[in-house]
C-alpha cells in the first residue's frame, strides 16, 4: 500500500502531461506539429514525473541519477531538430552517437572517479554508446515497420514494465519509480492511438536514452544483474520477427516473444536478489 502511494502520484502526473501534449498535437492536426510534439511529450512528461519523485534538485545535480530528466529534455529537443533539419540517417546517427557519448560520460562520472582507469573508462564508454545506438536502431526499425497504431506503445510499455520490475528487485525503489514514470509517459501518448495515429520515429531517441540510462544506473549503482539489463534493452528485437501482415494474431505472437525475454530478465533479477521485507 505504501509503495503504491509512493509510485502513483508521479506516474499520474507523467501520464497527464504526456496525454496533454499529445492531445494538443492531435488538436493541431498537422503532421509536422505531431512530429515535433511526440518526443517532447515523453521528454517533458518524464521530467515532470522524475522531479515529483525526487523533489527539485539544484543544478547541476551531484547525484548522476538526477541528470536523467535533463537528458530526456535535451534529447527530445535534439530529436525534434533532427526531424526538421537533419533528415539523412547517417547525420542522425552521428548526432545520436555524440549526444549519447556526452550523456553517458556524465552519468558514469563516479565510475571514472572511483573505479576505472582512463583507458578502461573510455573502453566501457565506447561499448555502452555503441549498445545504446543499437537499441535506438532496433526501436527505429520497429516503429517504421508496418503495424497497427497501438503496437509500438505496447512494445514500449512491456519493456517499461520489465524495467520497473527488475529495478525494484535490484534494491532501488527510486529507480523503479523512474521506470514507472517512463512507462506512464508512454502510456499518456496512447491518446494518439484514439485517432489511429501511430507514434512517430522521433520518439525513439528519447525513449532509448531514458531506458538505457535507467538500466545502466541500475547496473552500476544498484544491484541490477547485467543479464537482466541486456535482456530488457534488446527484448524489442524479438518484435522485428517477420510474422506476415499486421494483424492481431501476428502482433500477439511478437508481443508474447518480447514478454518472454522480459520475463527471463525478471527471473534473473529475482534469483539474484529475492525481495524480503524489513
Amino acid at each position: 500500500m505504501f509503495l503504491l502511494k509512493q509510485i502513483l502520484p508521479a506516474t499520474i502526473i507523467a501520464m497527464m502531461v504526456a496525454a496533454g501534449i499529445c492531445g494538443f498535437a492531435l488538436f493541431r492536426g498537422k503532421e509536422r506539429a505531431r512530429i515535433a510534439l511526440d518526443p517532447l511529450a515523453v521528454g517533458i512528461a518524464y521530467f515532470a514525473g522524475h522531479l515529483f519523485v525526487t523533489g527539485w534538485v539544484p543544478f547541476p545535480p551531484t547525484d548522476t541519477t538526477n541528470w536523467l530528466p535533463w537528458f530526456g529534455l535535451v534529447v527530445a529537443v535534439l530529436s525534434v531538430s533532427c526531424a526538421v533539419w537533419a533528415r539523412k540517417t547517417r547525420v542522425r546517427l552521428l548526432i545520436l552517437f555524440l549526444g549519447f557519448a556526452g550523456i553517458l560520460r556524465l552519468l558514469l562520472k563516479p565510475k571514472f572517479q572511483y573505479g576505472w582507469s582512463l583507458t578502461e573508462g573510455y573502453l566501457w564508454l565506447g561499448c555502452l554508446v555503441g549498445g545504446m545506438v543499437l537499441v535506438a536502431v532496433i526501436l527505429d526499425a520497429l516503429v517504421r515497420r508496418p503495424a497497427m497504431a497501438f503496437e509500438m506503445p505496447a512494445f514500449l510499455l512491456v519493456t517499461c514494465a520489465g524495467t520497473f520490475g527488475t529495478l525494484m528487485l535490484s534494491g532501488s525503489i527510486l529507480l523503479g519509480q523512474c521506470a514507472a514514470v517512463l512507462g506512464a509517459a508512454v502510456f499518456g501518448c496512447l491518446v494518439l492511438t484514439s485517432r489511429r495515429v501511430a507514434l512517430g520515429r522521433e520518439i525513439v531517441p528519447v525513449f532509448s536514452l531514458l531506458l538505457v540510462t535507467l538500466l545502466l544506473s541500475g547496473y552500476f549503482f544498484a544491484e541490477l544483474p547485467a543479464i537482466s539489463a541486456v535482456l530488457i534493452a534488446f527484448a524489442p528485437t524479438l518484435g522485428l520477427i517477420p510474422t506476415g501482415k499486421p494483424t492481431l494474431p501476428s502482433f500477439g505472437i511478437r508481443i508474447a516473444l518480447v514478454s518472454v525475454a522480459i520475463l527471463a530478465a525478471l527471473v534473473v533479477a529475482f534469483r539474484s536478489s529475492p525481495p524480503s521485507s524489513y
Binding site: 509512493q6 525503489i173 527510486l174
Partner: protein, 190 residues
C-alpha cells in the same frame, strides 16, 4: 658577530617551533574502539538505530591552544550495518546513500574552540556528495594507557542533521528526515 647573531636567531626560532609542535598531540583514530551510531524515526513511530562499522582519521589536539587543533574523519558507506542485509543494501542504493557514487562520508574541521573538556568543533560534513558546514559540541575524555602501554585519548559528540539537506530526500514519509548521530572516538597517540 653577524654569524653568531644568525645562529642565535635560528636557535630561538627552532625552539619556538619545537615548543608549539610539542603542544599539539596527534591521535590516530582506533576504528575498533570508536563508534558511529545513528537513529531516525520509522513511519514516525519510534527511533530505529544503525551504525557504521569503520571510522578512520586523525585528531590533532593542542591543549594550550585548541584553535590549532584539527579533526579529519572518513567513514566508508559500505560499512553501514543495520542488522538486516536487505536494509543495508537498500541504504547503500541510489534511494539513500548511493554508495557506489559517494563511497565515503567525511568530516574536516575548520575551527575548534573551548576549554577544559568541552569544545565547539566547526567543520565541513560531506554526505552524499553534498558538503555543509556544521558546529558540534565535543566532550573530551581523559587520556589513558592502553593494553600495550600506548597513550589513548578520545571523546564523544551527539548531534542531529536533516538528511534532506544532503540531497537524501527519498521516502521521508517512511524514514525520518531528522537523523540523530552519536560519534564516540578513541585515538592512539602517535
Amino acid at each position: 658577530m653577524k654569524s653568531s647573531k644568525l645562529s642565535f636567531i635560528s636557535i630561538i626560532c627552532s625552539l619556538g617551533f619545537g615548543l608549539s609542535a610539542y603542544g599539539a598531540d596527534t591521535y590516530k583514530v582506533d576504528p575498533v574502539h570508536s563508534s558511529l551510531v545513528f537513529s531516525t524515526k520509522h513511519f514516525g513511530v519510534t527511533n530505529f538505530y544503525g551504525r557504521f562499522n569503520e571510522i578512520t582519521g586523525t585528531i590533532t589536539f593542542d591543549t594550550a591552544d585548541p584553535s590549532k587543533s584539527s579533526v579529519e574523519l572518513t567513514v566508508p558507506v559500505e560499512s553501514i550495518d543495520t542488522h538486516n542485509d536487505k536494509r543495508n543494501q537498500h541504504l547503500k542504493s541510489p534511494d539513500f546513500f548511493n554508495a557506489k557514487q559517494f563511497p565515503t562520508l567525511t568530516f574536516k574541521s575548520t575551527k575548534i574552540e573551548g576549554t577544559g573538556n568541552l569544545y565547539k568543533v566547526s567543520g565541513d560534513l560531506a554526505i552524499h556528495g553534498v558538503t555543509k558546514p556544521i558546529t558540534i559540541e565535543f566532550k573530551r575524555g581523559a587520556d589513558g594507557k592502553g593494553g600495550q602501554g600506548e597513550t589513548r585519548g578520545g571523546g564523544e559528540t551527539q548531534f542531529t542533521i536533516k538528511r534532506s539537506d544532503y540531497d537524501m530526500k527519498f521516502m521521508t514519509g517512511a524514514v525520518g528526515d531528522d537523523v540523530n548521530i552519536i560519534v564516540s572516538l578513541e585515538g592512539i597517540k602517535q
